[in-house]
Amino acid sequence: MNKIYLIIQREYLSRVRKKSFIIMTVLGPVLMAALILLPALIVTMGDNTEKIVAVINPTKQFDSVLKDSKSVKYLNLGNTKLEEAKKAFKQSNYYAILEIPDSVADNGDVKMYSEKQPSLEVKMFISNQIEKELEREKLKRKGIDENILNAIKSNVNIKTIKWTKEGAEKQTSTEIAMAVGFIAAIMIYMFVFIYGAQVMRGVIEEKTSRVIEILISSVKPFQLMMGKIIGIGMVVMTQFLLWIVLTLAIVTVAKTALMPNQSETVKQSMTQNVIQSATHQQQPALPDNMIGEIFTSLGNMNIPLIIFCFIFYFLGGYLLYSSLFAAIGAAVDNETDTQQFMLPITIPLILAFVMAQAIIQNPEGQLSFWFSIIPLTSPIIMMVRIPFEVPVWQLILSMALLVLTFIGTTWMAGKIYRTGILMYGKKVNYQELWKWLRYHN
């Protein structure tokens, strides 16, 4: 037993110390944090420069409507002619010249002259204000009271509330459940694939460098295989843990240090897209609500169960597939020969991943049930279903089958492995593998 510990230690340390591991571990969270923070940063940075927009508005109808914002300042040029304003543009510090002709009420055409292409943010900001005024004007002309209009505006927001067996009510969100399930499934898929392939490459390395003969004169082949699988599994868990910790740290630090006064903007931009948040003056109430909803429905999910299942299904899926990967590595002489055996292993994984998108639409259906029970696909599919709460018996059945299957596959892989690692220069096919399975050495 001491020996398997040594193997785990070597497999773990030799990978954790690698530059590529350190870079990936540090870069991963930076990228993730950037993905979260960048939209917010773009918005806040865009706000920093003041843009002067010169307005030519003969009717003066819009003088009171065009209100300055942090980034856009209006300058009323009064009766100045467009041609003059254009001439003056070079010497001025104008960002753009806005011409609102009299005909705007009929066709909605407004012209904006500038040297550079005006930003979407500025364009949206201005057109919003003008549109509002035009709408108000039209309503007035048709004799509709604005207050009535506001009163009949409706916004339907279905809050989903579930009963527990005890009768307690919980507010939930289908969208959040979908997101949580899908992210968990993608991560399991990725990690099983990347690190399963690492196990395979490790086996091939030992075989081609011929160090294998020395190793198995010291330890049992099965110990060696399991040591490698467990060691690499621990590398995954380490990377995973570090990613979570680092991402959280970076996000919090960035939030407080980079933008101390604008955490509100950050929150909004996390839930809205850039354009919406650029015009947030009009609809400030919604994002706050959403954040609140996200947190209540997250809080109402069974987070410990989800985390437990994630770890369980990751480990189960990883053990199942990596032992098969190890067997492939043992059966071939070099990496280019792995193709023919890789296919039957990657098909269920990819199938599960593709199916996940259908499953998420209908997590209670027949298809969902079977794919979350069959062990080859259950690690991915069950994770999609878990946020929607799965009957306990299904969960237990799926987990038990997964455990039984990975015991089966490791046993099988162990047999192929022990024969394969000492076999050189032989083109191996499935018939040959079947023969190895029946050896009793």
Binding site: N2, K3, L6, I7, R10, S14, E205, E206, S209, R210, V211, E213, I214, L215, I216, S217, S218, V219, K220, L422, Y424, K435, Y439, N441
Partner: protein, 305 residues
């Protein structure tokens, strides 16, 4: 006393019989030559000793006990196809492999320092294997094999890849290990090194032991009663002096000196033979032609076809 015994070992692979009732006895503190042509089953037998694979039939005893799992720690194995982790540093790798053989890290470190100093390779400690030449890698591999002071050492073609200087250095080390009490199984195709090093041998061919025993006894049995004599005199006279007692086979002449191989046909003693030759000329040298292991190997394996 026999330190290692294998009795009636049978090992079948799906479509062939790799070992068919093979038996070897290795005496404690000796060097045992395991010989045989390619594909004879030597590697299979070595793998059985290392418990990499198990025999289908037969018994294996190690130091008087039935071979069991814990014995692998007392065996050092230098495989023919050798290799190390290419990207791992030498020192770290040697420590790891020694620990896998069951010795503690501190012990391994102490012994490793001793060997590195002995071979004057301390500067290699932090080098990766891929940075070393093949010969250098072999040296490291040799150290790793003997590092945990095993009672039984198995060397499979230990001198391949070494230049003559390093090969003789390794030879001395192997003899040294023998002196310190290690029992050594030595497998090679290089018959001259077998004659230099081995006490006993077993010759395996097609999964069977076809010859085994003390190397001196074997040579004695394969003696062909041929003597080589160089003399200055009359060759025709020698041929006809006593044709019923001996025949003159090969001959050559160089600078008035004739060299002939003489085969004794009956129980003629060497003294009597010399008297016959003296009558024909002046003897310069006379010695018995002892068959080399190489000749015996070729003869025995050839007869086994």
């Amino acid at each position: 006393m026999d330190f290692f015994v294998a009795q009636d070992i049978v090992k079948r692979y799906a479509d062939q019989l790799a070992l068919d009732k093979v038996g070897i006895n290795v005496k404690e503190g000796t060097i045992f030559g395991l010989l045989g042509p390619n594909g004879a089953g030597k590697t299979t037998l070595i793998r059985i000793i290392n418990q990499i694979t198990a025999p289908d039939e037969g018994q294996v005893y190690f130091a008087g006990e039935k071979l069991k799992n814990s014995h692998v720690d007392q065996i050092g194995y230098l495989p023919e196809e050798r290799g190390l982790y290419k990207k791992m540093k030498i020192g770290e790798q040697a420590l790891y492999l020694a620990q896998l053989k069951g010795i503690s890290r501190t012990d391994a470190l102490k012994k490793l320092k001793y060997w590195f100093e002995k071979f004057e390779i301390q500067s290699w400690w932090d080098k990766k294997v891929e940075e070393l030449s093949k010969g250098m890698q072999q040296k490291v591999q040799f150290i790793i094999t003997v590092l945990h002071s095993p009672k039984l050492l198995i060397f499979d073609e230990p001198f391949s890849g070494f230049d003559p200087i390093n090969a003789s250095l390794m030879k001395d080390e192997i003899l040294n290990l023998k002196k310190q009490g290690s029992t050594i199984i030595f497998s090679t195709h290089n018959m001259s090194s077998v004659e230099e090093l081995c006490d006993d041998i077993a010759l395996i061919d097609k999964g069977r032991t076809i010859l085994k025993g003390d190397i001196k006894d074997i040579k004695k049995t394969y003696k062909t009663n041929i003597f080589e004599v160089s003399f200055q005199g009359d060759l025709d006279k020698l041929k006809n002096i006593a044709p019923e007692h001996f025949s003159v086979d090969k001959m050559s002449s160089y600078d008035h000196t004739l060299t002939a191989q003489i085969r004794i046909l009956n129980s003629l003693s060497t003294n009597e033979l010399l008297t016959h030759i003296m009558k024909c000329g002046n003897i310069i040298s006379f010695n018995e032609i002892v068959p080399s292991m190489n000749d015996i190997f070729i003869k025995v394996v050839g007869e086994n076809k």
